[in-house]
């Protein structure tokens, strides 16, 4: 920690945002505003889009799919991860398989997901959850596996009940890493849901994106990308802050 340094993190973030805007403006001036929309025009276009009659419906559709997929990914990932982490052999058997699944281009599997789930909500949710669940499982598994034995022995020698052991030893020891997994799971679930919408749906932000890709409406693509980047960055910021506080509190 570099305490005593006078740079405020907020100032730095604002500076970075301004610098990125400047680069964007420069690029769009160089490439021409019809190739890459300028920042100001993009914000205006976004406001116009959001004020449009259909936007609320599309956004609500995406939000619903994302939330359901996220709940499945986090809850399922946590359960599987704890199970695999607690049993050494199961973990060893599963880990390379999970890493393999994590790294294949899952977008190629979309025809299978479509054929199994049909067009619509369930395919989107399945796609989001498939993307998000694996990092949650991997991080939870490692978190549980890496709980130092000494903690458990200390807990036993203090005759903690199972409940006390869980609340006071197991959760605090594994929580920081689990939150890291949640953060990755969050990002990837959003990605998966959007990809699912692009191919498997007639509604939602992803559908708007693929439609404007097909019509070559760069201004809409850039506006939606700005919206998504802002939302995802804000969420990551919150989760990173939480993660840092947990790591600080339960620092080993």
């Amino acid at each position: 920690m570099e305490a005593g340094r006078a740079s405020s993190p907020w100032l730095d973030k604002a500076l970075l945002a301004v610098a990125l805007m400047a680069v964007w403006q420069l690029l769009s001036t160089l490439a021409g505003p019809e190739v890459l929309t300028t920042p100001l025009a993009t914000v205006r276009r976004l406001a116009q889009l959001m004020a449009g009659p259909d936007f609320g419906r599309h956004a609500a559709e995406t939000a619903t799919a994302f939330v359901v997929a996220l709940v499945i990914a986090l809850a399922g990932g946590l359960l599987l991860g704890v199970g695999l982490g607690a049993n050494r052999l199961c973990g060893e058997v599963a880990e390379p398989l999970l890493v393999g699944l994590y790294s294949i281009p899952k977008i190629t599997l979309y025809p299978v997901v479509l054929l199994l789930f049909g067009l619509g909500m369930s395919a989107k949710i399945a796609f989001g959850a498939i993307h998000g669940i694996i990092p949650v499982v991997l991080f939870t598994m490692n978190a549980v596996r890496n709980i130092p034995r000494a903690y458990l022995r200390a807990g036993h020698s203090m005759r903690l009940t199972r409940r006390q052991m869980f609340v006071h030893v197991l959760v605090p020891a594994s929580l920081p890493e689990i939150v890291t997994g949640f953060r990755l799971g969050f990002s990837l679930t959003l990605l998966g849901t959007l990809i699912g919408e692009m191919f498997a749906s007639q509604r939602g932000i992803g559908y708007l994106l693929i439609k404007s890709m097909e019509n070559n409406d760069i201004d809409i693509i850039v506006a939606l990308a700005l919206l998504l980047v802002s939302l995802a960055t804000a969420a990551s910021w919150l989760l990173l802050g939480l993660e840092r506080r947990l790591h600080g509190r339960f620092a080993r």
């Binding site: 973030k13 190739v35 281009p105 977008i107 190629t108 959007l194 850039v222 980047v229 995802a232």
Partner: protein, 250 residues
């Protein structure tokens, strides 16, 4: 092979067998999923016919170019972030959320910029891969043990010597992780791009077979692709494990 390894093979075999049985017995709609043996037959037929060789080579070369570019600039970017901690802290949330936005939505933009050729796809693969390499490089530089740097200084190594003889070897495993991720992400980016809007390549052929209800071809192509990427990954993953183990870490 270890016990876990044997169990893993058995588990995968069991799952594939179950899928075969379920498909043959008609528990799964044959329009949705075909039996694994037919997938393998489809894949073999594709390879033997040579009809898709051009697409496969196109995709592989795109991935390779994207990968090389991403590794080189990701390394430079990671080093820059390491040297500028204020920038790094400010950019943290942005980097963390980078992978939640499907980068290939910028494909039309790249087409306008680069023209209708292989470069838009390379650009997507690059954009997808570069941040992973950057983050791994940064992590590697940050985790070089202080004692090594102090020893280097005590031995009066020049900056270049310190870099070549101390820092780079010390962060080699992390750089390797970065290269591995860059390969994976470049694959994902290029294939996704081909899927969405392209007239050639592996991803395009899968989408084409899907749209024409040609299940044996679709599953055959998928099997080839996932087998190749999965196999490559397993190889890199086991090297990586060995590398980290040799350091006595993890």
């Amino acid at each position: 092979m270890t016990r876990a390894g044997r169990l893993r093979v058995a588990l995968v075999g069991l799952l594939v067998g179950l899928l075969e049985l379920a498909c043959r017995a008609g528990w799964i709609d044959p329009v949705a999923v075909i039996p694994p043996t037919r997938m393998v037959a489809g894949a073999w037929r594709l390879l033997a016919s040579g009809q898709y060789t051009k697409d496969i080579l196109l995709t592989l070369s795109n991935v390779a170019i994207a990968c090389v570019l991403a590794v080189a600039s990701g390394f430079a970017g990671g080093w820059l972030l390491y040297k500028l901690p204020r920038l790094r802290r400010a950019a943290d949330p942005l980097l963390a959320s980078y992978y939640s936005v499907p980068t290939f939505i910028f494909y039309p933009l790249f087409i306008v910029l680069f023209g209708l050729n292989r470069w838009p796809l390379v650009a997507i693969g690059f954009v997808f891969a570069v941040v992973a390499m950057m983050l791994s490089t940064l992590q590697g530089f940050e985790r070089v043990p202080r004692v090594l740097r102090r020893t280097a200084r005590a031995m009066r190594l020049s900056t270049t010597q310190e870099m070549i003889h101390v820092v780079l070897p010390a962060c080699a495993p992390h750089l390797f992780t970065g290269v591995k991720l860059a390969i994976v992400y470049a694959f994902i980016g290029v294939i996704a791009g081909e899927f969405v809007l392209s007239g050639a390549g592996f991803g395009f052929q899968v989408a084409f077979a899907y749209n024409s209800f040609d299940n044996p071809t679709m599953y055959g192509l998928m099997l080839l692709l996932l087998g190749f990427v999965g196999g490559l990954n397993m190889l890199l993953y086991s090297w990586e494990r060995r590398m980290y183990l040799r350091r006595g870490g993890r």
